[in-house]
Symmetry: C2
Subunit: 438 residues, 2 copies
């Protein structure tokens, strides 16, 4: 199967664990069979592979998520990157061209597109095979997956099928109806639209040409700004007569808020935390290196990360976005393809950062024009290159990198570095990359 996972979202609803560069799909909250924590992205990837180990998985995303995806999945997936954020029609158009022109998948083959973050059982992915078979049929241009609702939610989109058979034509769509209306639709057989659909590549390749003429993926990438900013639902799905929906009646959860997310946690605590016996329905996710003690709380979620601390009654946590939008805080923690970084001190004209570089990885060879950096190696061994001069490094070694010096470091084992940045203007944009000469 060719499966594409759409990985988007700035994830402010799960602040402080999600931020502008770490969306909710990267937060490690699920315990896997080995007792280790994994993210929604890792969980979904592993589920797909368990159901069909021969599936090829492509992730369609924006540039700022590539590092985190590589950090969590390594080179097991291909990544199709949008040049800019537009809407779902341009995104699906580009990834379809990518599958055809870069990965060489036949235009008669089927692709199944799914959000990256459903919280589901393996059976959900087993249904993808049925979607693939249905989409192969000449009479079906597009096949949707419809999820049998468990309650009349006002938050979701509804697919109204023509009948209650397992596979049905679609009579119409209803976006976020009132609870009353939703209950009526459900009684008539309506399904939640979980954003999963399947099509033959040529179907979308032809659709693209209705909007822009292009030769191949690379040409389309350059012309991305010419594609209209509209959703795939509006541009394609709702206009398609050869459209079917496949009914799925297994478990499905949308983990959009702390309230829904804590319901899926295997234990009440992730990280170091203590609850006294007067705590009822309290969940703590603590990514800081200090203990959290909760006493006498009822129905509360506590989430702590280098970005901040949330303490919220669970229902209230769904209103978090309006507050977090006001926080103009820098990103204090991020996963990169080569490891991770955490800002541990912010002062006037200096930033102190703990960098972890995974074994075998290296930073880009780069330079800053407006800041000096001091690296103190605290763990592991590696090699630095500063203005072409190579040096072996071990714990206790100090590398001073003045503004204007090109520099990089290779990790021969896992490496940990304390980096002190010094300068009047410290900015993530003050970075120029180079090819390494040696």
């Amino acid at each position: 199967m060719n499966i594409v996972l759409l990985s988007g979202g700035s994830g402010k609803r799960l602040w402080p664990l999600s931020n502008n560069i770490r969306s909710k799909q990267f937060i490690k909250i699920f315990k896997n069979a080995d007792g280790e924590y994994e993210s929604m992205l890792q969980r979904v990837y592993n589920q797909i592979k368990r159901v069909d180990s021969s599936s090829s998985v492509t992730i369609a995303t924006s540039k700022n998520q590539v590092s985190a995806i590589r950090n969590q999945l390594g080179d097991n997936v291909t990544i199709s990157v949008e040049p800019s954020r537009r809407d779902t029609f341009p995104a699906i158009a580009l990834l379809t061209a990518y599958l055809h022109d870069v990965l060489g998948i036949s235009e008669d083959d089927v692709v199944i597109v799914s959000p990256v973050d459903p919280c589901v059982e393996d059976e959900y992915f087993a249904v993808f095979k049925k979607l693939e078979l249905l989409a192969k049929e000449a009479d079906n241009n597009l096949v949707l997956m419809g999820i049998e609702p468990t309650y009349p939610s006002e938050k979701y989109g509804y697919i109204i099928p023509e009948n209650k058979e397992q596979v049905s034509k679609v009579s119409m769509f209803k976006e976020k109806p009132s609870a009353d209306a939703a209950a009526k639709y459900i009684a008539g057989g309506a399904l939640w639209n979980g954003g999963v659909f399947a099509y033959k590549l040529k179907y979308v390749l032809n659709k693209i040409k209705e909007f822009v003429s292009y030769t191949d993926y690379y040409d389309l990438y350059d012309k991305y700004e010419l594609l209209p900013k509209i959703s795939f639902d509006y541009a394609v799905v709702e206009k398609e007569p050869k459209l079917k929906v496949l009914r799925f009646n297994g478990s499905w959860k949308d983990l959009g808020t702390w309230n829904t997310l804590t319901e899926t946690m295997d234990s009440n605590i992730i990280g170091e935390a203590y609850l006294n016996d007067k705590c009822v329905n309290v969940h703590v996710v603590n990514e800081l290196d200090l203990p959290v003690l909760c006493m006498g709380l009822n129905n509360v979620v506590v989430a702590a990360s280098p970005d901040g601390i949330l303490v919220s009654e669970k229902e209230q946590s769904s209103y978090i976005k309006q507050f977090v939008d006001k926080f103009d805080t820098p990103v204090m923690y991020a996963e990169k393809s080569w490891g991770e970084f955490k800002i541990i001190d912010v002062a006037k004209e200096s930033l102190t950062i703990k960098i972890t570089l995974n074994k075998g990885h290296k930073m880009n060879y780069h330079m800053h024009t407006k800041r000096d950096e001091v690296w103190t190696i605290i763990q592991g061994i590696g090699r630095t290159v500063v203005d072409g001069i190579e040096q072996h490094v071990k714990p206790g070694d100090v590398i001073v990198i003045e503004a204007g010096c090109k520099h990089t470091i290779f990790a021969e084992t896992d490496l940990k570095i304390i980096e002190v940045q010094l300068g009047k203007e410290i900015s993530v944009h003050d970075k120029e990359k180079f090819e390494l000469e040696c």
Copy 2:
């Protein structure tokens, strides 16, 4: 007036803002007239000076509080340090000898002893003058201050006077009675014992000789272990026939728990925090450099420091001690006589610390045998001495101090340093002090 403030307590009840070296009296939670935050210690000192600017204030404490007291009060007070923790009788014996033999106060003079942490108005200290006058009278060996109770507390000690006059003989003492019993005592005129009393120095100097023979303060200091481990109340107060109590009917609060402490806060928030409009009776004290967001909480205190995060329903917060006793965490933040330090990263065989050295101050000239240190100056200018070699330093300068090197730093302006400690055994005990040769 000669006033002695007893500064003790490990302060675990106000974790995470108090710890083994920062007791509750050092936490900055009161807004002064200039809008700056001050601690109970600073507030009490300023109140005493406002009431009688000629008062001499001595603080009796243990060794581990000296740095914090100097940090907060500078050289405005004298400090009498116990060689070890025993009980209140030995402590009061030693400080009395200190006043007489070191400060040269006459044995006919009166001293007023008070805890360092009452939350009171200035009038409380104005009453000290009356205590002094009463204690001067030949017929009074010991004069207590009794606080008119506002409710029948089960937590306090009660002084039962012979009558309801402003000054009365004492008929007996009752420690932590039941609420019913307390109510009856109060109806009969009983008073709370706030731990304030006055006496002529010679009274206690003579008492000491009943337990140990000594020549002067220095001799008593050396013989401190020979003094019995008993309380001043038990050894002296309860046995004294020439005992009076002075009735005080002003406001008095004991800030022993988060619950009582938050009642005295001028605003609901200290530090960076946000409360949504569904929060009722929520207080936040945030000493971390990251925002706290509270939503939909009722009657909750949130306290955050480098030592940990407390989230507690207010009544429950009084049961904190049993949990905190179990935390075996190092002290992550401390005020020193020369400034302060904060541990910003803990890793295997390394610690990273942000040090602030106040202008004009210096560290001890010292050496570690089992760890190297790397200093990166991030703010201010100063001078380092490493193995006798002096060097001027400014932001960006890096000083590498190998194990076995003697080192210190002088702050010519306020200085901020990132210190990375590296070694297989990093311990606060690995420190040897030296006289500076240059």
